[in-house]
Amino acid sequence: MKRRGFLAVLGAGFVAGCNKFADSDAGSKLLGAAEKWHKNAHEFLMDRKALAPEFPRSAISPFFRGNGSVDPQNGDYPAQAEAGFADWRLEVRGLVEHPLSLSLENIRKLPQRTQVTRHDCVEGWSAIGEWTGPQLSLLLDTAKLRPEAKYIVFRCADNLNGQDYYESVDLIDAYHPQTIVAHELNGEPLPIRNGAPLRMRIERQLGYKHAKYLTAIEAVASLDDIAGGKGGYWEDRAGYQWYAGI
């Protein structure tokens, strides 16, 4: 008997069955529901403010890998980089009482949080770095969220494969104490590959949530009408889970 051939046929049949299930209405609903079960379980098991582990400075990895966009060439980003991001503005807008437009100088003058955390990419690798910046909660409280606001969207300067990068989180992660708008990595201004001049740190989720090259923070009631409607660049493009705490 040709065992290899038999196994390959058995395997192919099994995979075909799985894919047929995944493509069915019930199947895709179930696969999508698992993400919510994990999210609910995490919220049931832990306080919403529970902190991700922080490391001593000695644990910092000697290099912090960049992924996705590592050197944006679109729009005025190259010119801004050339000028040392002197005219960079961060807007806080959407469903807020007092929209803000902040310079890097404004952001550096706010109370800062410094944290040494581990960054986990969805692909599987990890790096450890020290991040510094104001807590997102401070910006949101200053701008004062309207009661309809349910999600915070992060707008980015980089255009990847023809689409503008963006990400979003719910208010639990937006108000998490370790969610900061970082402008420093290991005590230096952010390198371009890591999101200069500003990036988000969403420490309880995977790397693709940590939006880089941040230009605006937008409070919204629903994610449906933004880009592909799934709440983020990779979510729209490849179907990655919106809740990336798994």
């Binding site: 995979v15 995944a22 890998r65 599987g124 420490e203 309880r204 989720q205 179907g239």
Partner: protein
Amino acid sequence: MKRHALSTRLWHWLNLFCVVVLFMSGLTISNAHRLLYWGDWGFSRQQAWLEVPRFPDWMTIPGYYSLAVARDWHILIAWPFALGLLFMWAAMLLNRHFKRDIATSKREWRWSNIKRDIVQHLKLDFDHGDGKYNFLQKLAYGLVLGVFLPMMVFTGMAISPGLEPLLGWLVDLLGGRQSARSLHFIFAFAIFGFFIVHLALVILAGPFRQIRDMITGGRIDEA
């Protein structure tokens, strides 16, 4: 008396399905970053202790490269896998299957006994030993149920960033997140190894009766 309790049979087939889906979707996830590290961090060849080969598409779920779809399957089937294992342990302790058939006595760990057992396995003589299972069987089932399968759950939870505030101690115990990821991979292949040996022995010991009994429960001859 039935040879296999209903709880054992239900779990056996549920677990087979779960392990196959988790393993095949896991191979896709491995293809996303084929380097394994020890410690908390690692992101390039310089830190890797192993570069895993790329697994061909026909071995994987969904059968083409999609990290997102593979992750969807992996995190869905993780639920019946982990809860099923919990159920099996509760059932095994309650119906005394563990104590009666799997737990070993000190006597069985004597080298003379182990040697005899190995020799008899090599002679393909499977009807030996006092109880239901001989020493090597007890050892294999004990390892799979008590170490390999639970370690898949624990190392899997340790890799999940959302669980870290709760399970930081577990991540430290395992030697850091990248160590947990390496162990997840190692135990997955330990289970694959068990699967191959288990399948081979079922085929050698009479596959029809073995598979039938794991479905209907079979019967123990009281002779």
